[in-house]
């Protein structure tokens, strides 16, 4: 490329540098104290972060944010006095430290001493800044896209409802490059003799309409990355032809996650905790901004953090005050519940007033011996006693856990724990359930999983064997499967498979028709974060397609007789009406759980894009 010869001598922060602004305001003179000066080589060895010590003003904001907020301690000040400079801890390369590649140091730097190691020429050029909501995880951070000419030049944090101080993590900070990727699918592709061939959108709609009207048993799948509006349109279409709907994201994992979410401790109350327990969560990677809040409270307010993990090596080990290794989340919580109930430590006032089914639950649970449960949990009895009493007695005890890494039944048992201790729904106390994807909560509320009563593997096996036509939106069950051969069987002997995706994923390759998918910032809409907040965002860029995802879904829905919706705003209105109609206040109940046959089939939230971005980080950082 001819343009590669430009050495980019000018500074990437030309338009945003604090030092340049202040120096201009105060008519600074570079020659005023001329004499000795330091000269450093610029370090490019980290795939995402570039360090230019020449530009450093030694404010140590990068060092401090890495320690006070991120808790990674990957950067430090080396030497003293005039010789001081910022450098990665314990080595020459930031890549070889505990750096989590979150990019928070970049956000803190008042110059360009620490900046993004861009994969393209960053200019700098003046861009338009458009606020949006992150489309990676369920924390729901607000961020700014910096746009010019339909290209995303940079992503920075914005002060949002969740991330009040504008923090964001590596996913939005560096993952945006996928949206600029020219290799995306932009036109419908039809498989003919095993080969994909581009066809027009109208031709594709006709094929889909014919299949929808065929009367054949069909199943629709919506991914947890989709907007509420996309989910709604998919559900409407499916309902029109009386098809089954589901989401591979939650497929076969049972039911029980949804119950906790309404009682989640709000993120902003984490700083009032007296003790935080983190269960089954690599929070610094999976829901990093929530992790920053916990680490920040630990560093500054000294709120103790206990990590409970089944992982032999957890990335949170370095960032906690106490570490409990276990082998079963489900049994660990059951053992704690057993301990509290058998020792009569439960909050009876709360239970009597609010909860049904305690006695049945208690008698069933106490049939197990505490010792057996502890053994199943993989830790000694004292540890569980200390945990159970500690949580029970904490003034503001918060148990934070990730849905991703535990089954629905374990989530249900956590719910029981919060009921037994009477902490559920109290201020700065109780539980905080973190979800994997940006709209994992949205899919729970969308009604898409309403038809599958138990959401069990058996139930789904029956669906797959009956369905002739499969319509899959934004999911890659084959590519993300733990056991690809098992999952592939579901797609055999189908008459028609439609996949809507960004790229030709493994599932898309099985399809008869592939439709190009829009990234959320290209269509606008809403996500529901793990705190059940529906966050609307406008569309940011038009994207590379003639018909975006919303346009496609409206066209497909209209083939089944759905009318009256012309754009994403219409879909949003209808979606809100629909979820309000179905919203019901459930009584708090306790039910006996039995840990059998609940499988997690997919990693990465069953999202090829999430997988690609996660692997992009992992591979780039391989040592």
């Amino acid at each position: 490329m001819v343009t590669n010869r430009c050495l980019e001598c000018g500074c990437v922060e030309y338009f945003s540098c604090d030092l340049k602004k202040i120096a201009s305001d105060y008519n600074a003179e570079q020659g005023k104290y001329a004499g000795e000066y330091k000269q450093y080589n610029v370090k490019f060895d980290h795939p995402f972060i570039e360090i230019d010590n020449n530009k450093c003003v030694l404010c140590a904001r990068c060092v401090r944010i890495c320690s006070e907020v991120v808790g990674a301690n990957a950067l430090g000040l080396v030497n003293r006095g005039y010789d001081t400079y910022v450098a990665p801890a314990l080595g020459n390369s930031l890549k070889d430290t505990s750096c989590e590649s979150c990019g928070m140091c970049i956000s803190a730097c008042p110059t360009a001493a620490i900046s993004e190691n861009f994969t393209f020429k960053p200019g700098p050029v003046k861009t338009e800044t458009i606020e949006s909501v992150c489309h990676y995880c369920s924390v729901g951070c607000t961020l700014n896209y910096h746009i010019k000419g339909g290209h995303i030049w940079q992503v920075t944090g914005a002060e949002g409802q969740v991330n009040k101080d504008g923090n964001i993590c590596r996913f939005p900070k560096f993952g945006y490059v996928a949206m600029n990727d020219k290799a995306r699918i932009t036109r419908p592709m039809k498989k003919e003799n095993g080969q994909f061939k581009e066809i027009s959108f109208d031709e594709a709609y006709q094929i889909i309409a014919d299949k929808l009207k065929s009367g054949k048993p069909s199943a629709f799948f919506a991914g947890a990355r989709l907007t509420n509006e996309e989910m709604y349109l998919i559900k409407r279409t499916s309902d029109q032809i009386n098809a089954t709907t589901g989401s591979f994201h939650y497929l076969g994992r049972g039911k029980g996650y949804g119950q906790n979410t309404p009682y989640n401790v709000p993120f902003e109350q984490l700083n009032q905790a007296s003790h935080i327990w983190l269960l089954a969560s690599e929070i610094n990677k999976e829901n990093a901004v929530a992790g920053f809040m916990i680490s920040n409270n630990r560093a500054v307010k000294h709120i103790p953090l206990t990590l409970i993990t089944c992982k032999e090596e957890s990335s949170m080990e370095r960032k906690c005050d106490e570490l409990i290794h276990i082998t079963s989340n489900y049994s660990f919580i059951r053992a704690a519940n057993h301990y509290l109930l058998s020792n009569n430590l439960q909050n009876s006032l709360f239970l009597n007033d609010h909860v049904k089914g305690l006695e049945e639950y208690k008698s069933a649970l106490l049939k197990n011996s505490f010792a057996d449960l502890c053994e199943a949990a993989g830790c000694n009895q004292d540890t569980i006693k200390v945990f159970a009493e500690g949580y029970n007695n904490a003034i503001n005890g918060i148990l934070v856990f990730a849905e991703k890494n535990l089954c629905a039944l374990a989530a249900k048992e956590i719910h029981h724990l919060a009921l037994i201790t009477g902490k559920l729904g109290k201020t700065a106390s109780g539980i905080l359930s973190l979800k994997e994807k940006n709209n994992s909560e949205g899919i729970q509320n969308s009604g898409i999983m309403r038809k599958v009563k138990s959401n069990s593997p058996e139930e789904w096996n029956a669906v797959f064997s009956q369905s002739k036509n499969l319509f899959i939106f934004g999911e890659d069950p084959i590519g993300c499967a733990f056991d690809k051969n098992q999952v592939k069987l579901w797609f055999d002997n189908k008459e028609f498979i439609l996949v809507q995706e960004y790229t030709l994923t493994e599932t898309a390759q099985k399809a008869d028709l592939v439709m190009p998918a829009s990234y959320a910032p290209e269509i606008g809409g809403s996500f529901t974060n793990t705190q059940r907040t529906i966050q609307w965002f406008d569309h940011v860029i038009s994207g590379p397609m003639e018909h975006n995802s919303i346009h496609q879904l409206i066209s497909i829905a209209s083939a089944t007789g759905v009318s009256g919706m012309n754009d994403v705003a219409d879909a949003h209105k209808e979606m809100l009406k629909a979820i309000t109609e179905h919203a019901s206040t459930k009584e708090l109940d306790m039910v006996t759980t039995n840990h059998t046959g609940r499988v997690k089939y997919f990693d990465y939230g069953c999202d090829a894009e999430f997988m690609k971005t996660t692997l992009y980080f992992e591979n780039a950082l391989k040592k």
């Binding site: 490329m1 001819v2 343009t3 590669n4 010869r5 430009c6 050495l7 980019e8 001598c9 000018g10 500074c11 030309y14 604090d18 030092l19 340049k20 202040i22 120096a23 201009s24 305001d25 105060y26 008519n27 600074a28 003179e29 570079q30 020659g31 005023k32 104290y33 001329a34 004499g35 000795e36 000066y37 330091k38 080589n41 230019d52 020449n54 530009k55 003003v57 404010c59 140590a60 904001r61 401090r64 944010i65 006070e68 907020v69 803190a108 008042p110 110059t111 360009a112 393209f120 020429k121 960053p122 200019g123 700098p124 050029v125 010019k148 000419g149 339909g150 290209h151 101080d165 500054v300």
Partner: protein
């Protein structure tokens, strides 16, 4: 929460216990600069930029880490505070070995953001790239062909010993052509009409640029051009094999499409009077160029068949008749770009032999090296260290031959170039049929009386070199409503300098029209590595991947006896 009362810059305000002075000031809309403070982090107070004065306390206190207390009297904007902050910043920047802006941008007279537009071109965003260029230079397709490219000289790629810096102009031309030839081209926003009108004298690069900038501000611009077509020396001086007329036409159209009018065959002081302009317009901008060629200044230089180079070029463009130099020998005197245009054009007029006579060596030639290279390919011969002494005349009074002197280089002169010194007794004779003098141009202000008779206040003056006199910063002349820019102010210079001046004149003119004081655009602080030391090859070689410049495809030299464009432009950038 406990409330605390303090006096902040003389005003009573209340804050909460535990607030820092910085927090309180921010909440009260008072900006205190800081580098080390981050609202997400505990105070650190290392930069000492946020200092303030607290009455009763010695010295300055960092506002980020000083908590407010009852009755505290804080001043955030005193001279002492500003001095203290400046000292802190001066110290920081004195150890800030870094560049804010690239040398290409800093060297460009118009300050075109080269690095910015190259990054846009990289992404195929050609119209966006042109939009960025046109913020300071409305003529990228033209400049992409004929700019003297000081940027490429300043380019640090030169330090990598790859023969050339970045082909900045080639990239600009590529983007400009893509934009001009595309279905839609870049068009800036034009502000709502201010009701003000500006007369611009001359449709050369300066006049066109002034119109481009002023029209966008909502002022109606009318250009009065003496010639029958727009472009000034772009059209009448630069031959078509370097700058085709249709490129000029297309780029001029991007200016007229904003609502700018151009009236042709209207010459101020001739068939156009300032009196009429003054009645119709609120302001005037003189972008008259330097119109008159300088003679060679030796005995017999008034003989027949001796022309000034620019007249030679202009005549052909005006008449659309090429000279027929078949069987003739041409001597071009001079070493600048006009000399190059003359010698290469002479070749295209079928001259037998073309000499360029230059009193210094090739190294000192001000002409663009690529021009010298191409002229040699086309068969032009050079006589360096040679100066004309005398013109010998034939019976018809036309030149028959030129007596020349050999020169040698002596001590450097004011321009830093070594001064040519005559080698005594080195006279020799060259037989030539035509001489084209390309050694300079002069500004011709023939309308001075006409203007000054009609000013109604103020006087237009010329400098001792005969150029339009004006304030060097604001470009306002002795008549408040008259501004000037381009060669007419500087004497013969470059297109990009005319463009840059026109932008400044437009800026001043716009302020004048709004009744504001004339203030130049604020200059920003720019950190420069060159402020610390000269950049040297050793620190660049090996630090960057080596990549040679993609050469500009050109027409085969054997196929150039015509006026078709020689440089063909990049076909793609991959």
């Amino acid at each position: 929460m406990d409330t605390i009362n303090v006096i902040l810059n003389g005003k009573s305000v209340t804050g909460n216990a535990g607030d820092s002075i910085l927090d309180l000031a921010r909440r009260n809309g008072i900006e205190i600069p800081t580098l080390c403070n981050d609202p997400r982090l505990e105070p650190y107070s290392s930069c000492y930029v946020c200092v303030v004065e607290i009455e009763g306390m010695k010295g300055l206190q960092p506002s980020c880490s000083t908590k407010i207390s009852e009755g505290m009297k804080i001043n955030t904007e005193t001279d002492t505070v500003r001095k203290g902050r400046k000292a802190a910043i001066d110290l920081i920047v004195s150890n800030h070995y870094a560049d804010c802006a690239a040398p290409c941008k800093l060297t460009c007279p118009a300050g075109v953001d080269v690095q910015g537009y190259i990054s846009l071109i990289e992404k195929g965003l050609y119209s966006e790239a042109i939009g960025l260029i046109k913020k300071t230079n409305p003529l990228p397709a033209i400049c992409g062909r004929i700019c003297v490219r000081p940027c490429e000289v300043a380019c640090r790629r030169n330090l990598l010993d790859e023969q050339y810096g970045v082909g900045i102009d080639y990239l600009k031309r590529f983007a400009a052509d893509q934009d001009l030839l595309g279905a839609t081209h870049y068009k800036p926003e034009v502000k709502a009409s201010t009701g003000k009108k500006v007369a611009i004298i001359g449709a050369g690069p300066g006049g066109l640029s002034a119109a481009w900038f002023l029209q966008q501000e909502g002022h109606q611009c009318d250009i009065y051009e003496a010639a029958p077509a727009a472009g000034g020396w772009l059209r009448y001086g630069i031959p078509e094999y370097r700058l085709p007329n249709d490129i000029i036409d297309k780029e001029v159209a991007t200016i007229t499409e904003l609502g700018v009018n151009i009236f042709y065959n209207q010459k101020l002081g001739d068939n156009l009077s300032y009196k009429d302009l003054k009645e119709k317009y609120n302001a005037t901008i003189l972008t008259i160029g330097s119109q008159t060629g300088t003679s060679i200044g030796c005995e017999g230089d008034d003989a027949g068949n001796i022309f000034s180079g620019i007249d030679f070029l202009k005549n052909m463009e005006v008449t659309r008749q090429r000279y027929d130099f078949r069987g003739k020998t041409i001597a071009v005197i001079g070493g600048g770009n006009t000399a190059m245009d003359c010698c290469r054009t002479s070749k295209r007029c079928h001259a037998d032999k073309v000499y360029v006579i230059y009193r210094r060596t090739e190294k000192e030639m001000p002409a663009n090296p690529i021009e010298i290279h191409e002229s040699k390919l086309e068969g032009v011969e050079y006589m360096f260290l040679t100066a004309p002494k005398k013109v010998n005349i034939d019976a018809n009074g036309n030149i028959a031959s030129l007596t020349c002197l050999k020169m040698e280089l002596g001590e450097p002169d004011a321009s830093g170039r070594r001064r040519p010194v005559v080698v005594e007794g080195s006279d020799f004779e060259v037989k030539v049929d035509y001489v084209l003098a390309a050694i300079g141009q002069k500004t011709n202000v023939n309308f001075l009386n006409d203007i000054n008779a009609n000013t109604g206040g103020g006087e237009l003056k010329v400098t001792k070199w005969g150029d339009v006199d004006c304030d060097k910063t604001t470009l306002q002349t002795g008549i408040p409503s008259v501004f000037a820019a381009g060669d007419g102010v500087t004497g013969p210079a470059t297109v990009i300098e005319a463009v840059a001046q026109a932008r400044r004149a437009a800026h001043s003119c716009s302020q004048f029209l709004a009744g504001e004081a004339l203030v130049p655009e604020k200059t920003e602080f720019l950190s420069k590595k060159d402020n610390f030391k000269k950049q040297v090859k050793d620190e660049y070689k090996g630090h960057f991947e080596s990549q040679m410049r993609h050469e500009m495809p050109t027409m085969d030299p054997s196929d150039r006896i015509n006026f078709k464009e020689v440089e063909l432009g990049y076909q793609s950038l991959s």
